[in-house]
């Protein structure tokens, strides 16, 4: 236990040193009894489904009251029973978050102990914490929280909060599934007369809304199962799988998902109206950039490249600034901005170049944006760049065709290293809202062909009679994988890069020495990144009497940790791609091949893996040749394909460990 820093503080004898404590809106000097609704909820028995859970939500009720000006107040009442010691950490704390244009009316916290005794959190138990924890963030949102008194296993924690919400979001995203089971859950939306609402559901059977009063709607759910992915390898993002519902009550509360998406798109359009307007400085810079560019691709590439390399990523989220971009002129002047800002400046510069581009709100968690759940919620903004009908360029791979018949190149200017024309793997296959005024629509982002991304690795090694090995490896990475390497080069200094490489090689070859290495990063982002390195390792070949055992797969691994536990959620393969390794190992004089692994060949609809080891001249040659080819064709597999996936991983793992036996000639 550290001592408080009391001895350091000093005061002048002649003056007072004590400042009055800040007054708090949340202070309570007198203990209030827990409300009846909470006492009633606390009587609910723990369901059998919560047997292995750290806690169970007995009741969770949200009430949104929207006034005739569209301002919403949200009241949440959450009643949770702690079941295990570890449940205290996540479920023994009550909180409410708010931003500069929001206000917490109250946050109240009680606990009902197993013996029925009630406790209430008092003034000193409340704290506030800002969300600004990063060097690339300036975020004004903060949270008020209190650790519930007596929150031990068996206790019921009661949180009640009321927050006056920002006025410009006409939507409630109700995430009703948690990592623990829920017994009763309800959302109530109290709308002013004449306001319409529209609801949609994600990954859960829709419950029918009940009209509790004039334009007061209530949805109830019971026994919502837990969604716990902590121990599931290669799972999609939790938010992609969790049950949730969206209620719209603004202009987007119209009939039909397409119409709702269109209305949300129009809202974004209005929000960002004139933000991309080019300033004289933007115009001058753009014209200078594209001067002499012979075609559409070159023009486009000069501009995307400029944004990627010159606009520093820095997020400023202050109230509506979390949704609305800064004016393009400011972004250009200060040379920094977040994803919305980068898109805004890109749209602006492309406009100067005569290319039309549009906002595309997305989410970096693939599967979060659901075409069936029209919503303004998402955490990222990218760009759709209109491709003229007469432009057909193979380098423009990330193309979608919209229902208006137009083709758009999907591009993420925040991804500072993936070349224009390509798209980072985490966005591929996701959905985004193409914001084109009245033609706004939800589109699926493209899934690129495997050859668009991946690596070629060529190694030449020499094995000595004492088992030591020396060699050089050249790796060429292209597309999104090349972009990822470029980001690593950007984010790390030379010492870190060397350590990372040493660490990674050390996992393949224990005791390896990295003699030299060099990354080559051509300035144009559409050129591959190369890495050349040379290594030495002692006792790579394991000598066993007259035999020497050698693993022909000297470096690189594609095997992933797997679990054989029965699976209920899809398998996230993360990225499509094509990887090829080719290694030559010169074997020492006096040795011949005595035993070889058998070739491996597997083709499935989602991946293929082929590997061979060959020794020319019927095992008497001097060079072992290892070659393998790995292709991933899909981003996600349904859970039913788990056996196929395990088989693939088994094949890869086994091949990566395969051994060639050399024998010393007598």
């Amino acid at each position: 236990m550290r001592r408080p820093k009391s001895a350091i503080a000093l005061a002048l004898l002649v003056m007072t040193s004590v400042k009055p404590a800040d007054a708090s809106l949340f202070g309570k000097d007198k203990v209030q009894p827990a409300p009846t609704w909470a006492v009633d909820a606390a009587k609910i028995a723990t369901p059998a489904t919560a047997k292995n859970s750290e806690a169970v939500i007995l009741s969770d009720e949200d009430l949104l009251t929207i006034d005739d000006k569209g301002r919403a107040v949200e009241r949440e009442r959450l009643v949770t029973r702690i079941l295990k010691p570890q449940g205290r950490n996540d479920w023994g704390v009550c909180h409410a978050s708010y931003d500069v244009d929001e206000k917490i009316n109250y946050l109240r916290v009680w606990t009902i102990l197993p013996d029925g005794k009630q406790l209430q959190a008092m003034e000193a138990d409340f704290h506030e914490i800002g969300f600004n924890q990063d060097s690339v963030l300036l975020v004004t949102e903060k949270a008020r929280y209190a650790v519930a008194p007596g929150a031990d296993p068996g206790a019921v924690v009661i949180c009640e909060s009321e927050v006056q919400l920002r006025s410009y979001i006409d939507e409630k995203m109700w995430t009703f599934q948690y990592s623990i089971p829920v017994v009763n859950e309800a959302l109530e939306v109290d709308l002013p007369p004449g306001r319409h609402h529209a609801e949609s559901w994600h990954h859960y059977e829709a419950a029918k809304g009940m009209e509790m009063g004039p334009n007061r709607w209530r949805w109830e759910l019971a026994q919502v199962p837990a969604l716990d992915l902590r121990k599931t390898a290669d799972a999609p993002d939790w938010m992609a799988l969790a049950g949730r519902m969206s209620v719209l009550w603004g202009d987007a509360a119209v009939k039909g998902a397409d119409n709702q998406w269109r209305a949300i798109g129009q809202w974004v359009d209005q929000l960002e109206a004139h933000r991309p307007d080019p300033t004289p400085a933007i115009t001058a810079e753009t014209l200078k950039l594209i001067e002499g560019a012979p075609d559409y691709y070159q023009k486009l590439n000069k501009i995307t490249d400029y944004i990627q390399k010159n606009i520093r990523y820095f997020v400023i989220e202050r109230g509506i600034g979390g949704h609305q971009a800064h004016p393009a002129g400011d972004i250009f002047r200060y040379r920094y901005g977040d994803c919305k800002d980068k898109t805004t400046l890109l749209i602006s510069m492309l406009e100067v170049a005569g290319i039309h581009a549009y906002y595309v709100p997305v989410d970096h968690r693939r599967g979060f944006v659901d075409p069936a759940l029209p919503s303004a919620f998402g955490d990222h903004m990218i760009t759709a760049i209109e491709v003229p009908a007469d432009v057909h360029d193979d380098r423009l791979q990330a193309i979608v065709k919209a229902s208006n018949g137009k083709r758009y190149l999907i591009f993420d200017p925040t991804d500072e290293r993936t070349p224009g024309g390509s798209l980072e793997s985490s966005l591929q296959g996701s959905y985004g809202l193409l914001v084109v005024g009245a033609e706004s629509q939800i589109v699926q982002l493209p899934i690129l062909q495997p050859d668009a991304s991946g690596a070629n690795r060529v190694g030449a090694f020499k094995l000595a009679a004492d088992g030591s090995i020396t060699g050089a490896v050249d790796t060429t990475r292209r597309g999104a994988e090349g972009g990822a390497i470029r980001m690593r080069l950007k984010r790390n200094d030379e010492k870190d890069l060397r350590q990372d490489l040493e660490r990674s090689l050390g996992e393949d070859i224990p005791g390896v020495t990295l003699d030299t290495y060099k990354y080559a990063e051509p300035d144009p982002l559409d050129k591959p990144v190369t890495l050349h390195y040379e290594v030495t390792a002692h006792q790579y070949g394991k000598q066993v009497g007259p035999l020497m055992l050698v693993r022909p797969r000297v470096v690189a691994s594609y095997a992933r940790p797997v679990s054989r536990d029965p699976r209920t959620v899809p398998i996230d393969l993360q990225a499509t791609g094509h990887w090829h390794d080719s290694f030559d190992i010169a074997i020492p004089d006096g040795y011949v091949v005595d035993d070889m692994p058998t070739p491996v060949s597997l083709d499935t609809d989602f991946a293929s893996y082929h590997s061979t080891v060959s020794a020319p001249e019927s095992g008497k040659g001097k060079v072992l040749h290892y070659e393998r080819d790995y292709i991933v064709k899909q981003l996600e597999l349904p859970a039913e394909k788990q056996p196929d996936y395990l088989h693939l991983q088994g094949i890869i793992g086994s091949d990566e460990k395969a051994t060639v036996v050399l024998k010393k000639l007598q």
Partner: protein, 662 residues
């Protein structure tokens, strides 16, 4: 190598300063960049560095009640742009940050001033205090830019704020200048306990050649440093404060560090004695726990076992004062309260033991040490804040034994590893003295992994693993079980097993033995199933070292070392893996018997024994060191490289007809 020498030669010193004269200065003015600064693309002294400080300046003036900070930074790579965002924490409602000025200078000399108002963001707010951070980001930053900024922190006229200068930074510093104008009227200074603090002291840990200079005329203290290497960042480092160049000033009641520790130690000791006061209730409790006929050893153990039953809120939950009030529970004021409530923090439980041991007639003392995972105690830095946890020194049979009753489930005499080789203060018969705990032997931190595995004809494998642990490894699982239920502990044990067993093999944790009985070794029993081995035309290969197929041996990759190596604690891990083989398989080659000695430090032994349809592979790695000088790194790396090589050896079986494995 140059920078390593610097760390080695950092010197501790503490001085008494005498304040005269009067301050008056200009600070942190923006400087026109030199041609060399504009054009530079790298700093030869730190090749590959992302950025460097061209210049830093910190001024503290306790007469005018402000700190000012000025920096000029050269951005050398994309990563260096991270320094463009600056956050200045301050106590809202008490201090204020003013005069924020910043600008970016491009390599061509173009200047872009900061013209956006900094954001004032809440960091943390609690009852009666609020910490905010003023955040600004510089505009138009490019690789090659110079970032220049300054700010002032103003604090109230009734406060003094003597500086702590973190002279060494994560980035190389070409030149830095520090100034401190202490408060002139020292006889008016008091600390918050009301003690007069009319002396000004300072402690330095600086590279050779750098020293704090007192200028009599102006009354200021200055420090100039040049060419300061970045703070090192390596794996298995001791806490970084042991290496960082820094200076700390104090207004103090004391003349020197001896005086400081004598008095502060005395106050601390008095508080320990007050808390561990012999009360009637405790005397009765002790009387019920021990018998007068018990030996000192038996008494010491009985009392230790008794306090171990007290709920240790460091592992469960500390009740807030509001909660205690509502529950009608009295705030713990002394050891008797802890005993009565059967609940207390680690320190409170330690002091309960101290009180009981004293009542039992065992000569006992409190000691407070600096936890070794956080910081290394440095007596030259005059701050009780360095000290973390209370332990007890109990005398049994004339011998002093350090015990750790605040660590639930630590056996009598066993210390949490963070408390081993840890320094701090202890009580002695007349006052206090500095004290360092000893460490464990590798024999007291044993992990024994025994696997009994049957390989079947089809390549599948079944069996049982028993893992027995003593020392810190057992303590870790036992503490985890206090903070989580057994299911969660099992899950985490399963996860840890995944990192141990080869690919294709599944380890299902079955049960623990002795999870709450700290007098015995802790044992985990795990069921093994799955597929093992790879196949060639004639042979089947199994991992020779079942538990080491995923092993990530430290140090094998990094050739050089700047800082000492800290391995936390000595230990030994012994494996015995028995493979029962089908009739059709015979052992063609087993992992070669290997011994890797490292005299006085560690040893590694690998031995295989082949029997009929069976092979046993034994492996022991014993480390009997904790801290190593960088000079010994070459030997350390060599040792681990040899182990890594030995651990890669396969077990080669010949099969009549090889089957497909994994």
């Amino acid at each position: 190598m140059q920078s390593r020498r610097r760390f080695d030669l950092l010197v501790f010193s503490a001085f008494v300063a005498f304040v005269l004269g009067c301050p008056g200065t200009l600070f942190g003015q923006f400087q026109p960049p030199t041609d060399e600064e504009l054009k530079m693309t790298a700093e030869p002294k730190v090749p590959g560095a992302a950025a460097i400080y061209l210049y830093r300046e910190e001024t503290v003036d306790d007469n005018l009640h402000f700190h000012s900070f000025y920096a000029r930074i050269k951005v050398l790579t994309e990563k260096g742009k991270e320094l463009a965002t600056v956050g200045v924490p301050y106590a809202k409602g008490q201090d204020s940050v003013t005069d924020v000025k910043a600008r970016t200078i491009h390599a061509d000399g173009t200047i872009i001033p900061l013209d956006v108002k900094p954001a004032d963001l809440v960091e943390h707010k609690g009852s009666g205090y609020q910490i905010n951070k003023l955040v600004f980001t510089l505009p138009s930053v490019e690789v090659g830019s110079i970032l220049e900024y300054r700010w002032q922190l103003r604090y109230p006229d009734d406060k003094l704020n003597s500086p702590d200068w973190d002279v060494q930074q994560p980035y190389y510093v070409r030149k830095a200048h520090y100034m401190f104008y202490p408060f002139k009227l020292l006889d008016r200074v008091i600390d918050n306990k009301g003690n007069g603090s009319s002396k000004l002291l300072y402690t330095t840990m600086l590279p050779p050649g750098a020293k704090v200079v007192y200028e009599q005329n102006s009354g200021k203290y200055t420090l100039d440093v040049t060419d300061l290497s970045p703070i090192p960042d390596e794996e298995y480092m001791p806490p970084i404060n042991a290496f960082m160049a820094r200076v700390k000033f104090y207004y103090s009641s004391f003349f020197n560090k001896e005086d400081y520790w004598k008095h502060e130690g005395g106050s601390w000791s008095k508080e320990m004695d007050r808390f561990a006061n012999e009360s009637k209730g405790l005397k009765e409790a002790v009387a019920s726990l021990i018998s007068p006929a018990d030996s000192e050893d038996v008494k010491a153990h009985k009392l230790y076992d008794a306090v171990m039953t007290v709920d240790n809120t460091d592992y469960t939950r500390r009740k807030s004062s509001a909660e205690m009030k509502q529950l009608g529970i009295k705030q713990v004021k002394d050891a008797e309260d802890v005993w009565k409530q059967k609940s207390g923090s680690s320190d409170e439980i330690a002091l309960l033991y101290l009180a009981m041991a004293r009542i039992a007639g065992l000569k006992s003392y409190a000691t407070v040490i600096c936890n070794r995972d956080r910081e290394l105690f440095n007596q030259y830095f005059m701050s009780m804040q360095q000290l973390d946890d209370v332990l007890v020194i109990v005398t049994v049979g004339g011998k002093e034994i350090v015990v750790d009753p605040g660590r639930r489930y630590a056996n009598f005499g066993e210390l949490d590893w963070r408390h081993m080789f840890a320094s701090g203060l202890r009580q002695i018969d007349k006052g206090t003295s500095f004290f360092t705990t000893s460490g464990n032997s590798y024999k007291e931190a044993k992990t024994i992994r025994v696997a009994d595995l049957t390989l079947h004809k089809d390549g599948s494998i079944t069996g049982l693993v028993r893992i027995s642990m003593s020392g810190p490894a057992a303590l870790r699982w036992r503490h985890l079980a206090l903070e989580n239920d057994e299911d969660e502990v099992k899950k985490q044990f399963d996860e840890s097993m995944k990192a141990l067993v080869p690919d294709g093999v599944t380890a299902d944790f079955d049960h623990f033995i002795g999870l709450t009985d700290y007098h015995t070794n802790l044992m985990g029993v795990v069921k093994i199933s799955g597929n093992l081995g790879t196949v060639t035309g004639k042979r089947v290969f199994l991992p020779g070292l079942f538990f080491e197929s995923h092993a990530k041996h430290p140090f094998v990759a990094e050739e050089t070392r700047l800082t000492p190596v800290d391995m936390s604690y000595p230990d030994s891990v012994s494996d015995e893996v028995v493979y029962h083989l089908p009739e059709e398989f015979s052992v063609e080659s087993a992992p070669a018997d290997t011994t890797v000695p490292w005299t006085n430090h560690a040893a590694f032994v690998l031995k295989s024994t082949t029997g009929k349809n069976q092979i046993t592979v034994g492996r022991t790695l014993a480390k009997n060191f904790t801290l190593l000088d960088p000079k010994e790194y070459k030997d350390l790396r060599d040792f681990y490289q040899k182990i890594a090589t030995a651990d890669q050896q396969p077990l080669m079986l010949t099969a009549a007809a090889a089957t497909n494995g994994n």
